[in-house]
């Protein structure tokens, strides 16, 4: 059947007026073969391998963008969790590897490279310890390196020792990057149930179950979904709203599937997954909060928000599932505060609080994301917030994450400007009645009964 002019114009308007884009093409690369007892030799091998494998990533993405007329916003790289290399290296500081990744990212022209990471949900190994201890300095002396640490899982429970240590690392990173409004913490995510094929930063890693190289694609399109919801008759019932979102998600996902296949083919690597996440940007209208408001919630964060978000998240998955057989990554609406103009407005209006964002985490991915909090927030409080987010993920068999930024020298009501896709963040109030004693107990929250599924 021929494509109709209406369908052609619809696609063009999606791109030109509603911010339809492919948010990221992420090349996953195994760097396991770069292991070496000498950290500098290891770093050299990492640099050589990444620059050689990703040499054509940016030019291929640009060609595809031009030929298909769909913008590809970011080109990124994810590597094997560096803690694995850290277990072979004989020195405590892994910063040279982070610097090598940073140089490689600059050389091939990608804006972020993820994988300065460790998985410590059950225990912290020697390599993990080296990596974690290196994070505050590594994120201060690099620009493009992203770090993530998995501190909990449904199968292992919550490693509270790791949660508390990582909360300290967040505070240290806040200090080491104080001159950039603690932006280092914006490049550091703590996960429960981390996935191995996430194309989105800052949490992208190339999992140990992956092949040597793979292309993963993250789709976007909150602006398109918002426009569709806003164009519905005000009397449309919720089934009709879900149906409209589903149909739109299908189209967005198909674009992602096509781009993923084509990029993988041209790079000569296998196609991994399409991540069906609605990722907002600070651009006006490209907002998950505004979709919720278009559905009929007065301001994002008000009563009804969790319901609207649940409907949205589910409808996106249903439409997307028809669009690709390779769903993966996080695949859930993102609710990052600083990157979403509607979320920022909601915080400033007093409609959206940390507690409501935590509740929203239960029905979407990925939790408390890009949230600026006062610089003097104690590590124990951060640990308790992180453990709450992990508890939701652990019990509900889903990925949850926290990317909290205690901004040095800032207090509630201040704003910080990160620019570009990271937007600006209002400093949010933190509940003063934290479970300090709880997190200091340490040990592990045992895996829940629901994990015993064999």
């Amino acid at each position: 059947m021929r494509i109709s002019p209406e369908e052609i114009v619809e696609t063009l308007l999606m791109v030109t007026q509603q911010n339809l884009d492919i948010r990221t093409i992420t090349l996953g690369l195994s760097i396991a073969q770069c292991a070496d007892t000498d950290v500098n030799r290891c770093a050299d091998k990492v640099y050589e391998h990444v620059t050689s494998a990703a040499r054509d990533l940016v030019s291929i993405a640009e060609d595809i963008q031009s030929e298909y007329g769909i913008p590809i916003i970011n080109r990124r790289i994810a590597v094997t969790p560096v803690a694995q290399l850290g277990s072979v290296v004989q020195t405590p500081d892994l910063t040279p590897i982070a610097l090598a990744l940073d140089r490689a990212a600059k050389e091939v022209g990608v804006d972020f490279i993820g994988g300065f990471s460790a998985l410590v949900q059950k225990g912290i190994g020697a390599g993990d310890r080296r990596l974690i201890d290196s994070i505050p300095h590594a994120l201060a002396v690099t620009e493009r390196v992203c770090s993530s640490v998995n501190v909990a899982s449904t199968r292992a429970g919550i490693n509270m020792d790791a949660v508390l240590r990582m909360a300290e690392v967040v505070c240290e990173t806040s200090q080491t990057t104080a001159d950039q409004d603690s932006f280092g913490c914006g490049k550091l995510v703590l996960f429960c149930n981390m996935v191995e094929d996430n194309p989105f930063m800052a949490g992208a890693v190339h999992g140990v179950g992956e092949g040597d190289a793979v292309i993963n694609v993250g789709i976007s399109g909150p602006g398109v979904v918002r426009a569709v919801v806003a164009s519905l008759d005000p009397g449309a019932d919720l089934t009709e709203v879900a149906e409209a979102i589903k149909a739109t998600a299908f189209k967005i996902t198909r674009a992602g599937e096509l781009i993923a296949r084509e990029a993988a083919r041209r790079l000569g690597v296998s196609m991994g997954i399409v991540d069906l996440s609605l990722a907002p940007t600070p651009a006006e209208g490209d907002s998950v909060a505004e979709i919720i408001e278009a559905m009929g919630v007065k301001r994002c964060g008000g009563p009804g928000t969790t319901t609207a978000l649940a409907l949205l998240n589910d409808a996106v998955k249903k439409g997307g599932a028809m669009g690709t057989s390779s769903i993966g990554g996080l695949s859930g609406a993102f609710i990052p505060v600083s990157e979403d103009a509607g979320m920022i407005r909601a915080v400033q209006a007093g409609a959206l609080t940390l507690e409501k964002l935590e509740a929203m985490t239960a029905v979407c991915s990925v939790g408390l994301d890009m949230i600026a909090i006062p610089g003097d927030t104690p590590a124990e409080t951060i640990a308790a917030i992180v453990s709450d987010v992990c508890a939701i993920g652990m019990i509900n068999h889903k990925t949850t994450a926290a990317r909290l930024i205690p901004v040095a020298g800032k207090v509630v009501g201040d704003m910080v400007e990160y620019g570009g896709l990271f937007g600006s963040a209002p400093i949010m109030e933190v509940n003063a009645w934290a479970g300090t004693g709880l997190v200091r107990r340490g040990g592990r929250v045992p895996a829940p009964l629901g994990s015993l599924r064999n």
Partner: protein, 91 residues
Amino acid sequence: MQTPAILSVLGEDRVGIVASISRVLAENGANIEDIRQTIIGGIFSMTMLVTVNEDHTPFDQLQTNLTAAGTEMNVQVTLQREDVFRYMHRI
């Protein structure tokens, strides 16, 4: 290599759009398979299904030539591979 593509022109209607675009296509070895014109939401819209002969003119070069012709007539000309529409609008 023969590449199916969709060419779309959006903007204000005026004399010579079809002639000008067709001339660029012919000069670059691209064949018009189908052509439709309509007004959508007050915008003049012309869409063409064309086959680009990439051995004659590479895809990106044809895009550049068409964009130049569009700029002269103050209309937006877009050339995209056809599969993106097929993927997005057909199961």
